[in-house]
Amino acid sequence: MDEDVRQEMIALLPRLRRFGYSLTGSMDEADDLVQGACERALLRLDQYERGSRLDSWMFRIMQTTWIDRLRATRRRGTVNDPEMMAAVPFDARIHEQTEARAALDIVRAEIALLPEDQRLVLALVTVDGMSYKDAAEVLEVPIGTIMSRLSRARKRLGEALERPRAAPARESRA
């Protein structure tokens, strides 16, 4: 039985890592966070209710681990991970490449500035694709709370994207 849970946990790693990245803003910190959460989960494996959703349980542990670390370090999200940013695939349907990267930079920077509760909801619903109901289960709050936090976070992102910005400096050619 444990073996099944472990395999399922390994299969969850891509989602957990992306969730961690959206919370911390750094790929390395994301992996550290995932490792910390997995350590906790494995130590408490006997508390996992067989048959219940492992992803909800793991995301909840990720969330508490992240909050604990935030409290311990009093540190907010960090700068974008250059390695990760370079790996972001180009999507010509959204923007021209440079503009798309700039927009993604803004998104990451704004998400890092969101209050923790809004960032968590955004990471779960918008980044991971969880339903409102599942996110409410993970965070143990009513669906209405999820929706209001999410709405505020996305409006704030939208405002940030619409804000006028200085044009990037271009190299002039003689």
């Binding site: 989602r15 494995l42 311990a72 695939p89 990451r108 999410l150 996305r154 939208g158």
Partner: protein, 257 residues
Amino acid sequence: MRRLDDEILMAYADGALSEADRRLVETEIARDPQARRLITVYRSTTALARHAFDAPAWSEPPGRLVALISARPHCSRTVHGWPVWLAGSYGTGGLAALGSLAILAVLASAVWQLIPAGHDAAPADGKPAQVAVGPVPRQSELARVLDDLSADASHRRDRRFSLVATLTDKWGNTCKEIDARGPSPDTPPAFVLLACRAGVEQWTVVGAVAPAVDRNGSRRQYYVRSEADAHDALSGILAMIGAKQRASALKPETTQQ
């Protein structure tokens, strides 16, 4: 016209409304450009936020995470012969993962067999005890050695302890690498161990290297092949726990590169 809540518009943008509610919203937003604009904002932020944290790398989790989850509690025979150091957190915030604990138990068992009784971690009451990987009892001799050992070698009974290095691991915990020899400094170490602690928390032995013991109880060879191999192994594991700073190197003959 009734102004729709932002949350309802967001649920519409996310496709989270029932068919009846969706039709109702569509009727309303047909007359409300502000609502349509907000729906556009919700949709665009969804696409961008998802895109911002997406990367092919996620599908290939680091081996250390997979190994951590895959580690079984009863795999002692798979780590024989080599020093195993724990790459995990200790002290406040959880000693280690179950996987790490599995390794810990294995190494504790191994060291238990290899270190002769009556020397190294004897409690204050003088009863014989042995070095084991894991938390160091607060009243033990080993705890006092770890607390007190600085530049000078410390003699405890017939054992001579030396501080090889003071380190800081990637979690900011203080670690000490010490070796224990017989009364003569020329004898090879009975063992070399690394212990860490967070703040003033209890010390935790996170790894050790010991010489092998043959069936007669005498040491014939190192648990790893040589002292140099032992220290190479320690260096590799120090890198695993991110111990980058070496504040002291007091014993050149046993200090790593």
